[in-house]
Symmetry: D2
């Protein structure tokens, strides 16, 4: 995968897909590391949309100063239906050539990587992926950029809900993000001491949920929290509420959907360090001649994963944590 | 209203209605001030429900140590349909006599005060109200306990949503609490730099809202935030979204309902100081012989308002702030 | 003070002195309000230093978008010894003329206002002051911009210190900002439930402090917090520690100086609203022909105070709060 | 190390040494897991001091409800000189027998483990250690309980200091905790974008530090942050300031010592999950017959380390992170 003769002179960097806290820290690391290697950097605005539409501008170390602590992405993100077509990608490749950009760093999730993988294959463009999504569902890295921040944001919200649940001895169903995977739901349920967690990874039998809640309320708990991943097969917190409300009428059942607050905010220490490591590594591995790979951190070490592998499936949840959640209820 | 001969020896304190951050700080101030006057304090659990059902226990300074910073209420809150009946209140009055409680401090909102007012009239019981609700809708005080914290909680959430709105150049409709009044919606909209705020106090013409949003988006703003009070006549953020989504299809309109997260959390400095002032004042004015009044802070000074006045209407919003919001858009 | 014929066409705005959270929100309000009145705005970087050295640049509504939530000041602040001289101020006045700036809004504390007052008198320049300092020591306004945020920042730090003080049953001396006044010390001591507060406004007898602490420790409290204003006559927390450490040897006395963390951070809801009100009002009163005045909010209404009055003395602390602190210990 | 015949019926749990956020979550996990195994739990207050002085009380699931989110430790911590003596430990062992406690879980750092190791050897008592210290300096676990929270607390403070450093274009020396190791200093310096970090693990040449700062200030940076571990050989931030202040006179050099705020606060999501895993694992491994070991998480899996190994040396810092910090400056 490495090619000793190749020497990167100019790279492009973009953020794509759902934004996540730490994307800015990652762009900063790309720019500052590139500078050390005398590589010129172009920032591409609005992801693949901007790549096709020529929103490409040179950026340097001053453009990325004082952004490490900011949520969102100053390069903006966007969807691009055009990039899903061969014509769109051809136009993108053309633009890269126009600016003499010989390699592209894409920061985002699996949708982003799927696009990059096609661009790489069709137009022989060097690409490296940096995994950034609050969902943490990418294989090839223990954590994705933004996950830790989203977890803490959701947890702080649930802590606040617990205050009012306790004061009123109510039952709350709290929906957290996670369309396909239950990472946020599982870890926030453990960390908040929730009574039950519903994950897309497990079959949810509403009758069992009811029974668990009944048993807990019997055992002198007078408030309870259920954390529900948006992608749980019950259909989310509102639908679950419909299904169980008659059984818990006396608990004044309430629903809270945390929603997009989980995407924003200053990144946590962990996310900033991870974003810095991966952004910096992306430049280094490009410079070493790698392409069509994703950088990740596994067991505290840098790991390279071929793009096609990274997009082949969703990451598995840690089943020992599911057991832990059940033990601690 | 004052009776020089009356000397309070034992007071009861309860929290009732929706909980709000600072209730614990207020209970603490009641207990510690009472101690200085050699007054015994009984804590009544679960509000009027517990008063009727005998959940009454003596509390002292140690019971309230290390609670000033906690959200919720350690005395719990609850609804009591029984207290809405004469029989219920008679039973409550009986219990107060059983414990030789000669005065009652009720911490809550206008529903709480309505009950206290009846109890006072029907059974000649000395009551003082301490205004605590995140809605800030009580007259006789510039602010209610919990309002400032709720404002900051909602604002921090909106700041996070702004991050992702900016990254994606999306439009967000954010619903904040406020069933009858728009205090939270108005102040968070100013503080977050929201493009539009919809309040129960103003007629909302959906066509005008659309026009404002169109004008702003024309003027090179590519993301926008609309803050909607839950009690706005449009029916809240979800209903508003239904009405405008076709006009802003390209902005990938999203809805966020902040919900009960706004009730919890460690109280802000301002709320803890206000709660401490009012809890302490409640004991003092009882000791001076006042009854059937609410304590408040108006223009930085303690103000007493007769209960019947305090419950006669909702507080008006500050119209200079509505003008300010419009100027700064 | 008003002059009906005068019509402002161009204003300058600067931030000076110690920065405080909300300065950016205030600049934003100046720019957006000016726009409504068709007034051009120049931003002056580095306060009076930049005014003398020509760091003057036109700013518009886009320059101030997405800054309402940021701490610090994007116009920067600086000290300027030159501006303390007549020559310096003459040069500043000359620059204002060069840019056709017919009025100046200065955002800062009493040092800032003293300079503006001289500039106004010596060169007949219209100036309006906006009170922004975390110390809250300016008369003519109930609160200064930044005070509420600093209070909450200090309080959150003290809450954390309380955790470890309780775990170890230790005594902590915590120093908060306040060189001449004890506003932060007094309100954080009430809000944190500190055992003792030492303020510049009160004579501190170390023997009395020792006695109070001894009494409290006798009364079964095993940890204690003393909040000390940096300007307290003991000389601050480190010096106090020297004086009392031998008497409390068993409590493993610790000192924490909160320092400059109190200056930064995202402004609170209250500070953003206040900053927005005052920035907007500054433009309006200039436009109405006022000059050499400070805008403030007293009892929830806008109040104008002549500059010479605003700088004539420090604001008094609220003595009812001192009493409250003592009652609740 | 395992003994199939041994069956634990009663365990004691204590926290000792410097407190760290997550200790409560860990105690909760011990109690709830023990309950699943029908094991009785005694809470020992004030660490080894309380073990010697008989502060031992049975605790169950209700005692640990609603504590997962609290900083500090409800079992309190304390130093015990007596436990450092053979007589002290003999008395401790006697008390354990008196209560029929057949195994002890100690939550703390290497000082705590050294004591437990001796107790185990001298009196054949089954002990398991749970690593909890903000310093993260224990081998046998990737992270210690409390480290992630301390990191975020320090980072938030540094972010605030950055606001004021930028506004004034000042230089700040910020001292973070870390007497023997630079984990907090290194990771916060990367995450905050600090210009320089001084760690106990590296020789610090003050002349080089000066040169680096001069170079950066030349390169158009007008503010700068230096993060200093308290255990750096310069002697900490105050001493460093003495050494360099004359060279940077124009930058109005300031020092900030973050101190004990880093110990408190609600634990982060990561710390709560880690504390829950390790607390739960401690019970399980005791039940499986292990003793005189420490539980840790290495590469996302549970790892057991003999106590004598765990206390044999401090954990090494990750040198790839030191390189990263230098690359990103």
């Amino acid at each position: 995968m490495t090619d000793e003769l190749f020497k990167v002179k100019t790279i492009g960097v973009l953020t794509s897909g759902g934004d996540s806290p730490g994307m800015n820290a990652s762009i900063r690391a790309v720019v500052r590391t590139a500078e050390k290697f005398d590589i010129k950097v172009f920032g591409i605005k609005h992801g693949y949309f901007g790549l096709i539409n020529n929103e490409i501008v040179e950026i340097d170390t001053h453009d990325v100063s004082n952004i490490i602590q900011r949520g969102g992405t100053f390069l903006k993100s966007a969807r691009s239906d055009q990039f899903r077509t061969e014509e769109g990608r051809a136009k993108a490749a053309e633009n890269l050539k126009k600016y003499d950009i010989d390699a592209l760093i894409v920061i985002g999730g699996d949708g982003t990587f799927t696009g990059a993988n096609k661009l790489s294959k069709e137009h022989n463009i060097n690409v490296v992926g940096v995994p950034a999504t609050i969902d943490n569902d990418i294989i090839g890295t223990d954590e994705t950029i933004g996950y830790d921040t989203a977890l803490n944001t959701a947890l702080e919200a649930i802590d606040k809900i617990r205050d009012t649940a306790d004061a009123h001895e109510r039952m709350f169903l709290v929906e957290v993000m996670g369309r396909d995977t239950g990472f946020i739901a599982l870890e926030t349920s453990i960390a908040s001491g929730a009574e039950v967690a519903l994950l897309p990874e497990e079959l949810t039998h509403v009758d069992e949920v009811k029974k668990q809640l009944h048993d807990m309320l019997q055992a002198q708990r007078r408030s309870s929290l259920v954390v529900v991943a948006e992608g749980d097969e019950t259909g989310g917190a509102l639908k679950l509420a419909e299904k169980i409300k008659d059984d818990f009428a006396q608990y004044d059942l309430r629903v809270c959907i945390l929603g997009h607050t989980q995407r924003g905010g200053a990144p946590s220490a962990r996310d900033r360090v991870l974003a810095s490591r991966l952004g910096s590594a992306a430049v280094k591995v490009l410079n070493e001649g790698h392409s069509d790979i994703m950088v990740g951190v596994v067991n505290n070490s840098l790991k390279l994963t071929p793009m096609r592998v990274a997009i082949s499936k969703k990451k598995d949840i840690d089943h020992t944590l599911i057991d832990l959640a059940k033990t601690l209820r």
